[in-house]
Symmetry: C2
Subunit: 445 residues, 2 copies
């Protein structure tokens, strides 16, 4: 994309309403615009990152054998009356009446609706295991929405639901989700630590939250620092292999890591003192096993191999897709702006033309732009007639991980400059070598 043809409304001033860095940088980098309290438009660059995150979530869910569908944003109240949650849910549920005065609501989550889909179509253990998920906009009418997309009212969530014939199979689904989430977050450049959580209104015993360490996190967290060294990496996972999947979960949940809700001081004291850490964390996902809570209330039964009829075993598993943009920025920025991890960056590299209008420099930038596109990369070419300083400031603010700087002086020596946003380290190399390096870097992402 050429910047002169793009819509990237960066702000020079720090917006007064933004209290935390991710909110501030998302506004300043022209990623979002508030339309009402807690309701945002995703401007082009924000939308691109949102789509990259969504794509990673889809790929990792599909890899785990989970099946995407899409439920609507609005739901009939009657479904929620069946589970009893229509009355239990407080003012956070946005209640709506349609023109025929029927009670509707904007879905804050989808346990009832997915259970309805299941009971309408599935009746036998032969169709199990089954995990269905969707990525859809939700609404929770927070009394005081704040922190930009971190605590919005209209937000994008991945929520998945497993259906299994017995508890052992359902716990395998729970573990499968944990492993798929580990990889999902790692691909976004995040260290998200699964921590034992309290179950809350959805119910259920087995539940973990995934927390990203950041000073602005809403939860206090207590952990063994060794937990931050764990990596799933590229290892091959057979998601049908219960033992392998369970072993990975054990690996990631044995070291102490809890939120204030489930913190156990005695257990924490057993962690070697130099590894005992207290910090703050941002919740970016949660997994639950809740058994037959919804299937019993809503009559979602299956016939088992021995002919008996039992309520199906379920769990639900969520990732805060829109909130992740904020969490990633909280975890990865400096005082000049955002530093995108390669896995979610809106553009793979920025090209800065130091002398727009100079024939040779323009031609070199064009050639690099085309060569990167030919490699399947998505560059942003700053072709504005602006001073170098302004161009660098924009690139630093929007946080593309790599910058190619092209100017007459370098070209006279046959080189351009390749700069890492994270380290600030630059290296001079030929244009061809810069393109090849970028292709090599992104081959791993």
């Amino acid at each position: 994309m050429r910047l002169t043809r793009y819509f990237l409304p960066v702000l020079k001033e720090n917006p007064a309403e933004a209290q935390i860095v991710s909110h501030r940088y998302m506004l300043r980098a022209g990623m979002i615009k508030q339309q009402a309290a807690g309701i945002y438009s995703w401007l082009p660059m924000g939308f691109k990152v949102l789509k990259r995150i969504e794509q990673i979530v889809h790929e990792e869910q599909i890899r785990a054998g989970h099946i995407p569908l899409l439920m609507p944003t609005l739901q009939p109240a009657d479904l929620w009356r069946e589970s009893g949650r229509y009355d239990d849910y407080g003012q956070e549920m946005l209640r709506i009446k349609d023109r025929h005065d029927r009670d509707m609501l904007y879905g804050p989550t989808n346990e009832e609706m997915i259970t309805d889909i299941f009971r309408s179509h599935v009746g036998s253990y032969k169709d199990l295991p089954l995990t269905l998920y969707h990525i859809q906009w939700k609404f929770r009418d927070e009394v005081r929405p704040r922190f930009g997309v971190m605590r919005g009212r209209e937000f994008l969530m991945k929520d998945g639901y497993n259906f299994d014939v017995d508890k052992a199979a359902a716990l395998h689904a729970y573990n499968r989700h944990m492993v798929s989430y580990l990889r999902t977050y790692e691909r976004m450049g995040l260290t998200a630590i699964p921590m034992r959580a309290a179950s809350g209104p959805i119910g259920g015993d087995n539940t973990h939250e995934f927390l990203v360490l950041a000073a602005t996190g809403e939860s206090e967290v207590f952990y063994d620092s060794a937990v931050t060294d764990l990596k799933l990496g590229q290892r091959e996972v057979d998601f049908d292999d219960r033992d392998q999947v369970k072993a990975i979960c054990d690996e990631f949940t044995t070291l102490y890591a809890r939120t204030d809700e489930t913190h156990d001081a005695a257990l924490f004291d057993a962690v070697p003192e130099e590894r005992r850490k207290v910090g703050r964390g941002i919740e970016v996902g949660q997994i639950f096993y809740f058994g037959t809570k919804y299937s019993e209330a809503m009559g979602a039964n299956v016939v088992t191999a021995d002919g008996s009829r039992v309520p199906v075993e379920m769990g639900s598993h969520g990732i805060g897709v829109s909130r992740l943009l904020g969490a990633i920025i909280e975890a990865s920025h400096d005082d000049k702006g955002i530093i995108w991890p390669e896995g979610v960056t809106p553009f793979h590299a920025g090209i800065v033309n130091l002398k727009q209008g100079d024939t040779a420099t323009d031609a070199a930038c064009d050639a690099i732009y085309k060569a990167l596109k030919a490699k399947g990369l998505d560059p942003l070419y700053d072709d504005r007639d602006e001073r170098a300083g302004a161009k660098f400031a924009t690139m630093d603010l929007i946080g593309l991980p790599w910058r190619v700087t092209v100017g007459p002086r370098g070209l006279a020596n046959g080189v351009v400059e390749l700069t890492s946003r994270r380290t600030g380290v630059s290296e001079e190399l030929t244009a061809e070598a810069a393109v090849a390096r970028l292709a090599e870097i992104y081959a791993d992402w």
Copy 2:
């Protein structure tokens, strides 16, 4: 995807509530489930087609130089008070009060919000031309939703908005949309004819609807049959070239083609009698040029090259994304089921194993499945333990354009069968040749 691991709840019976063929087949093929009047869940196979259609729309908009963003589903009423449409819009607008008693609405369209985004960030002709679009769920509270996704209440729409410095530039944007839409529909296997339309509540003089001919269409259409022979095809279009883009529009709008709303009997009579056709059509898109209607009301001005300040020239341009599934099925089916065009099919080919459990047949199916995936194709392998007749009936119903049938008798002769869903013609060839043929067919899509 292996069918035993998928969620494809096909129905044997014709659902009583479905009056038109697309609604019937979408329910029977397990693509959608109604959750409330005019509100649907998109089951996995329906969701896949929806995503393929969305992807084509994105690709063609980006090719035309238009920029994607995403506006929220809920909007503050105040924006609509500025344009005057909050009161004008009737009961089709779903009005909502949040917990603080603020007036909100579920967006039926986005002229006001996009104008608000524009005026907040753009003030100079130097930032023009600019076309922003999104694909987002909309809500129109139809008094009597019907025909499945063809006339739902919650529906997915692409709506794009151009901002230009003068009328000539805005009309070029209008033409650019027309050409991009022609290609969009062709890639979906549709003949969608641009027809002069009446302007309706959005206002404006220049407006065309795109209609797909189908007996169940809601509009009566009058056209010169030669118009159905026009094809944009693969021709190279320079979307910055006003003359070229205009010439294509002229080519597609000179022959007579109008809906009952704008029909002119005298002009129609001038069409040679044997080419004079009357039929029905389904609207799948509409483009509007409306000038300064919203920019004047909402104060969206730009400074021109000569320093004067003028309201920006605008238009809006929509594609009914979810409705397109219905329209495609109405235009492409037979009495056994759907016939997906290659461009939007949920799976590229079906593999039917005639003797599940037979070692050689299973191995041959597995090999074909893997070979198709290695070619980047997305096959559906019917690995159920079912009779051949049931498997064929499912494949015909769900309408994959190509089927590979594998059985012991063929394998003994070293062949499998490749069958076109559209023509019913089968051909015997080696498994390798079948895979190569499919890769060749889809290379063009």
